[in-house]
Subunit: 268 residues, 2 copies
C-alpha cells in the first residue's frame, strides 16, 4: 500500500521531518512517498504549497498525510485545507503550553534551527574544528582540551560518532585508533594516560568489521576475519583491564551511539 506524505515547515523542516518520520515508522507496512516543502514563511508560500500538493496528488486514490510545523496561525490555516489529514505538530501543543506557563507564545517563526546566540554557534564550529584536527590519533599530545576521546580498532565507527558529537552536542571529541603496537605493550597507550577519565571504547562484531574493511581494502591481512577477531578481542580485553566503558556499535545508529556515550559520561 502506498501513501503520499508532505512535510511542510516555515524553516528547514527538520522538526516536522524528525517527528513525522518517527510516527511513520509505526506503520511499517505502508510505502510512504515523501515530499518536503520547507521555508513556507507567508500566506503566498502557503498557497503555493497547497497548489503543489494538489498537483502531486491528482492521480492518487487516497488523500495525502500532511505534517506541518508552522508557527504563524494564518499560514497554518491555509495549509490545513490541503488534506483531511493535516497533523499540526506545532500548534497542537501551543495552547496547552500557554496554559501551563501562564503566558502567551510569541508566534515567531521557528527559531529552533536559527542561529541562536552566536556563542553557541562558535562553540559548535570550534568543536567541529577540534574534532577534525584530532581524528584518527592526530595530535595525540594535545588531548587536554578534549571533552572525550573515543578509542577502538580501525573502522569501528569512531570518526562518524566524533563528528556527530561535535555537530549536535558541541563536544570536542577526539579519537584514537588502537593498533598492534598498543596491543603488544598490553597497557594503555602512553598518550592516553593523562586523559584516562575521558576515554570511551567502541567495539564491533568481527564479521561486520571484516566486511567494512574489505570494502575499503579488499586484499591483504587488514580485512581478514582472523585479523579482525584478534584485534577486537585485544581491544575489548584492554577496555576491561583498564576499566574503560565501551559500547558495541554493530547494530546501533550513529545517533544512538552518541546519545549513549553522552548519557554514560554525563556530558549533556
Amino acid at each position: 500500500m502506498k501513501r503520499r506524505v508532505f512535510f511542510i515547515s516555515d524553516r528547514t523542516g527538520i522538526t516536522a521531518e524528525t517527528l513525522g518520520a518517527s510516527l511513520l515508522t509505526q506503520f511499517p507496512d505502508i510505502d510512504f512517498q515523501r515530499h518536503h516543502i520547507p521555508f513556507v514563511t507567508n500566506e503566498l508560500a502557503a498557497r503555493a504549497a497547497l497548489a503543489t500538493i494538489a498537483r502531486k496528488t491528482e492521480q492518487d486514490d487516497e488523500p495525502p498525510l500532511v505534517f506541518s510545523t508552522l508557527t504563524d496561525p494564518a499560514v497554518q490555516r491555509i495549509v490545513a485545507a490541503s488534506s483531511p489529514f493535516v497533523f499540526d505538530l506545532f500548534g497542537t501543543f501551543i495552547e496547552p503550553l500557554e496554559a501551563a506557563l501562564g503566558c502567551a507564545s510569541s508566534h515567531t517563526a521557528g527559531r529552533m534551527h536559527g542561529m541562536g546566540d552566536s556563542s553557541a554557534y562558535e562553540r559548535r564550529v570550534s568543536a567541529l574544528n577540534y574534532t577534525l584536527g584530532h581524528d584518527d590519533g592526530l595530535a595525540p599530545r594535545d588531548l587536554d582540551e578534549a571533552d572525550l576521546v573515543l578509542v577502538g580498532v580501525s573502522r569501528c565507527g569512531k570518526t562518524p560518532t566524533c563528528l556527530y558529537l561535535a555537530m549536535h552536542y558541541s563536544l570536542r571529541a577526539a579519537n584514537y585508533p588502537l593498533t598492534d603496537d598498543d596491543f603488544e605493550s598490553n597497557s594503555l597507550p602512553r598518550s592516553l594516560r593523562p586523559c584516562r577519565d575521558k576515554l570511551y571504547g567502541l567495539t564491533i562484531v568481527p564479521e561486520q568489521l571484516s566486511r567494512i574493511r574489505r570494502e575499503r581494502r579488499p586484499h591483504g591481512d587488514y580485512s581478514t576475519l582472523a585479523r579482525c577477531r584478534a584485534e577486537v578481542q585485544q581491544a575489548e580485553a584492554l577496555f576491561r583491564s583498564e576499566n574503560i566503558p565501551f559500547l558495541d556499535t554493530t547494530t546501533v545508529s550513529i545517533e544512538e551511539i552518541a546519545a549513549t556515550i553522552v548519557r554514560d559520561m554525563g556530558l549533556h
Copy 2:
C-alpha cells in the same frame, strides 16, 4: 522566570528534544532548565524517571514541563503521572494517524534513529568518508563522484556545512576554497569546470569573516578587514559571472544553510 523541563524518550531523545526545544523557543522570556532522560524502554525505567523528576523538582515552586516520545502506552501511562503538564508528543498523533491510514500502529520502540536498513547506514558513512577526503580542496581531480561542491573563501562555513550534508542527507559534499590564484585568473578554477552543475557558493559579511579569521590567526594580512572585503567581493563577482547559485551564511545556522542548498539544488 525559571521553569524546569524534562525530555523523556525510549531511544535517543532526539525527536522529543527537537520538537520540545522548538516549542520552547516560543516562550523567550522564560529561563528553561533542561534535563534529558533517554532510553526509558520499560516500566522499571519509567518509574526511575518518575523518581528522578520528583527529586529534581522537590524545591521548585512550579511543576515541571515534561515532553515525552514514548511508543509503549504502558510506559507513557507511568510517565504521565510525573506532572500536570506532560506533553505526549508521540501518542497524541498515533490515534488520528491510525484513523487516517485505516490500520493499527505497531507500537514498536522508536525506530527512527535505529540502524534502519544497513544500506542507508553505509551510504551515510560512505558520504562522510568522501566528504572528509574532499575537504578544503583535497583531491580536486576526483570530483566526479561528488553530489555537490561548495565553493567560497576560507572560513565562510564550507566544512561544517559539508559535514552536515553528509551526516543528515548522505550527500557526498566536497568543498573548494577560493584563493588569490583563482581570483587572478578571473575565471572558474580549472578543476571545477567539469562539475560546474554541482557548484554552490557560500559567502559571508566581511566583518564577520575578519572576526572569525582573527580568532584563528590573530596576526598578519589573512584576517584584516581590507583583505576579507576584497576576497568576498571577488568571490561574489565570480559566482555572478559564472552563474553559480550562492547563499550568505552570516546569520544562518548550519541546518538552514544545508536545507537551503538541498532545496535549491533539488537534492532531497
